[in-house]
């Protein structure tokens, strides 16, 4: 008894007193036995009972079980020896148990994993909610709008966008009947009638198998409906269908398969004898919860940096666009205006500028002003500037520019001077130099004063080319001499074309005099030598002059423009010493007689 470990702590010290009783039994005397029986019977009974409790393993186990919890508490509170002793034993036990039947552990663990996963997701949602509730990024606002529009919470929307995939619903279906054994859905997913989904999935599965005559267990494994896909895993009696949003990893297929196997192992009998009562499948819900898995994509910081860098650069570009473009535009506008202002013959009276948005239109410019007809075209002037002609409206009113170059140009335009004329303008006076036809000189005198800006005209220096030519012909004519033979009206030593040249001169002379409005007459004077009488000489000289006149009249010259006179030998060309001298005196000469002197009137 002393060796019993429990005794060490539990036996009350009073029990030590029972030990002398043992010796009482050892006596052989019957009387003594009787006496002992009389005296000690109650104690003996108690002792026997105690012996029996110790000897009987069942009773002893019962006794120990009553004190064991207290003993363990006492033991662990005093030192760690017990835990140290028990740990290897426990490890062995667990290992042996898992080796023998892992299903029990899987079942228990899965019950814990399901809620743990949900709890983790829930925390993740909370984290995201807090993190993003203050986010005013463009995407954040977009998601807020989506949340408002769809009635989902902001966290749900964020989660949906960050998911790689999520298993939203899981159905466990009895394959033969198509009846739903159990189903589970993520907390925010609206689940439609699971019974019908279950039936229809079975029907589709049957249809596919039937239609394509697949072998054995081969059936439809995946259905794709927009963002959703349905993965179907088939077991001996069941179908496990998972509705997935996004792109699930193949690991999920393994998870589904394991879950299906575990369910089968746990519920083999119920599945094989299934008669429509699905209440027994309530227990396998934790397995299905394992399938409700979600995977999120993590936004890398690197991407965030790129995003903000891009955003900043975009901001700079927009700022430049907003501030630089109008500034550059204003510069161009000012430059263009200055260019116009510097141009003589153009006066800007007012300008208007309508700013544009610099995205669709660059604004409109309006210029009002005065423009001399001789000034260059303003549009041509601004072709080199960067202002778009379509955005520029110019309204010009005509005026006469008083700058000397404009007055000179205007004078040239009005007077159309010949090339031989040099026009200059100074202090209100227009001066012409050089030579010009008579008509131009006459007209210029009248027109010049009418030109705006010309207050005086100096044209006296201009040589009248017509008058000059008239004098030249006159001189040429007046040196022409026709010689005659002695006492006759017959020409002597006459040049072949002398008479024609005379006619040309006369014609030109008369034409020019007409042009110059000069009244002239050509005097044809006949001469003789001194031989013969004065009377005879006078007659002969007249005849000689008349002969020339007759010739000219025959050639169309009006007789009224010619006068003949015979001067006999009164105006000899040479002193008559020889016959040759006399020959030079038998002649006809010409003189041009003008009523006015032959110069400018």
């Amino acid at each position: 008894m002393k060796n019993h470990p429990a005794e060490t702590y539990e036996h009350p010290p009073s029990e030590e007193k029972t030990s002398p009783d043992v010796f009482l039994f050892e006596g052989r005397d019957e009387a003594l036995d009787e006496l002992r029986l009389l005296l000690l019977e109650p104690e003996q009974k108690a002792l026997r009972k105690l012996q029996e409790r110790i000897d009987n393993p069942k009773k002893r186990a019962y006794d120990i079980s009553r004190v064991l919890p207290q003993a363990l508490v006492l033991c662990s509170s005093q030192n760690a020896a017990l835990a140290k002793e028990l740990t290897p034993q426990m490890d062995k036990l667990i290992n042996a148990s898992i080796g023998k039947n892992s299903k029990i552990f899987i079942k228990k663990l899965s019950r814990m994993i399901g809620p743990a996963t949900r709890s983790a997701i829930s925390e993740k949602i909370q984290d995201m909610n807090t993190a993003l509730s203050h986010s005013f990024s463009l995407r954040g606002l977009k998601w807020r709008w989506e949340a408002f529009r769809t009635g989902k919470t902001f966290a749900e929307v964020v989660m949906l966008h960050n998911l790689i995939f999520r298993v939203e619903q899981v159905f466990l279906i009895h394959k033969e009947t198509g009846l739903l054994l159990q189903n589970i859905a993520a907390h925010d997913v609206v689940s439609h009638d699971a019974d019908l989904v279950s039936g229809m999935l079975t029907a589709i599965q049957d249809f596919v198998k039937d239609s394509f005559k697949t072998s054995g267990e081969d059936g439809l494994e995946t259905l794709q409906v927009g963002e959703l896909s349905v993965w179907i895993e088939e077991g001996p009696h069941t179908l496990l269908a998972a509705v997935i949003r996004g792109q699930a990893s193949l690991e999920l297929r393994t998870i589904l398969r394991d879950v299906l196997e575990n369910i089968y192992l746990e519920k083999t009998e119920e599945l094989e004898t299934f008669q429509g009562d699905n209440s027994t499948f309530e227990e396998i819900k934790p397995y299905l919860e394992i399938c409700l898995e979600s995977r999120y994509k993590s936004e890398s910081k690197q991407r965030a940096i790129y995003f903000w860098t891009l955003l900043t650069m975009l901001g700079i570009v927009i700022s430049v666009w907003i501030y630089f473009i109008p500034w550059r535009d204003h510069q161009r506008w000012t430059q263009s205006l200055n260019k116009l202002r510097e141009q003589p013959g153009i006066i800007i009276t007012s300008t208007e500028k309508h700013y544009g948005d610099y995205i669709i239109n660059n604004g409109t410019y309006i210029i009002n002003g005065l423009r001399d007809a001789l000034a260059p075209d303003p549009k041509q002037l601004l072709t080199t500037s960067d202002i778009c002609p379509e955005n520029l409206v110019m309204r010009w009113k005509p005026y006469y520019a008083m700058e000397p170059e404009f007055i000179l140009d205007r004078s040239k335009q009005v007077l159309q001077p010949p090339e031989s004329i040099d026009l200059t303008y100074e202090n209100g006076a227009l001066k012409a130099q050089g030579s010009a036809p008579h008509q131009w000189i006459i007209e210029t005198r009248i027109l010049a004063r009418a030109i705006p800006g010309v207050f005086q005209f100096w044209g006296d220096q201009v040589v009248d080319t017509d008058l000059k030519q008239l004098n030249e012909i006159k001189q040429q004519l007046e040196i022409r001499t026709f010689y005659f033979k002695l006492k006759t009206t017959e020409f002597s030593n006459i040049k072949a074309n002398a008479i024609d040249e005379l006619l040309t001169d006369v014609h030109n002379l008369l034409n020019l005099s007409d042009k110059l409005n000069q009244k002239i007459r050509i005097q044809i004077k006949g001469h003789t030598d001194s031989s013969g009488t004065e009377l005879k000489n006078s007659n002969l000289s007249l005849k000689r002059a008349q002969q020339i006149r007759s010739f000219l009249v025959r050639k169309g010259i009006s007789p009224a423009q010619m006068a003949v006179v015979g001067v006999g030998a009164s105006e000899p060309q040479r002193q008559e010493a020889t016959d040759d001298d006399r020959q030079f005196n038998r002649r006809v000469t010409f003189r041009v007689i003008s009523k006015l002197p032959l110069h400018e009137k």
């Binding site: 009947t177 009846l179 009638d193 019974d195 039936g199 029907a203 049957d206």
Partner: protein, 165 residues
């Protein structure tokens, strides 16, 4: 909850879908839409001692071009054989379908429904013929999806029979 799969079988256009719709949704439309494959509906029925979730597989009607896909019958706890009372030949088809069904799912509770009983002017089924079926322990009921006559009762009856096993 107890769930039971039942099937509606019969020739084309005998009124299987109309019966299912009348039973599940309480509606009837004149428009005829042929069923492609199968339609599945459900209704929770209260029998004397339990609640049954009735999953009704309304199979496409059989005609000369399309046989009933017997795989859809698997796991059914009972079925309704539907014939059109105004078309005698649909009754023969129902008899054929019954044997086909039994080959797949064995003997299960069933009811023969003679539908379109509202069209009594065109009725082609002789009462003596019905007697023959009754003699064979068949349950025969006259129904009308249009008026609703006998529909609820038929489904109730089948559910009871299935519950009895």
């Amino acid at each position: 909850m107890i769930q039971k799969k039942i099937c509606l079988l019969g020739s084309f256009a005998v009124g299987k879908t109309s019966l299912a719709k009348r039973f599940v949704h309480g509606i009837y439309t004149d428009k005829y839409h042929t069923t492609i494959g199968v339609n599945i509906r459900k209704k929770i029925m209260q029998t004397n001692d339990c609640t049954v979730n009735l999953v009704i597989w309304d199979l496409a009607g059989e005609d000369e071009f399309e046989k009933v896909r017997l795989t859809y019958l698997r796991g059914a706890s009972g079925y309704l054989l539907v014939a059109d009372g105004t078309r005698r030949e649909t009754l023969n088809k129902a008899i054929t379908l019954k044997s086909g069904t039994e080959a797949v799912i064995g003997e299960k509770p069933f009811i023969l429904l003679l539908n379109k009983v509202d069209l009594d002017d065109n009725w082609e089924i002789d009462p003596s013929l019905i007697n023959d079926f009754v003699q064979k322990n068949w349950l025969v009921m006259a129904t009308s999806a249009k008026t609703g006559q006998g529909v609820e009762e038929a489904f109730q009856m089948l559910t009871r029979k299935m519950a009895e096993g």
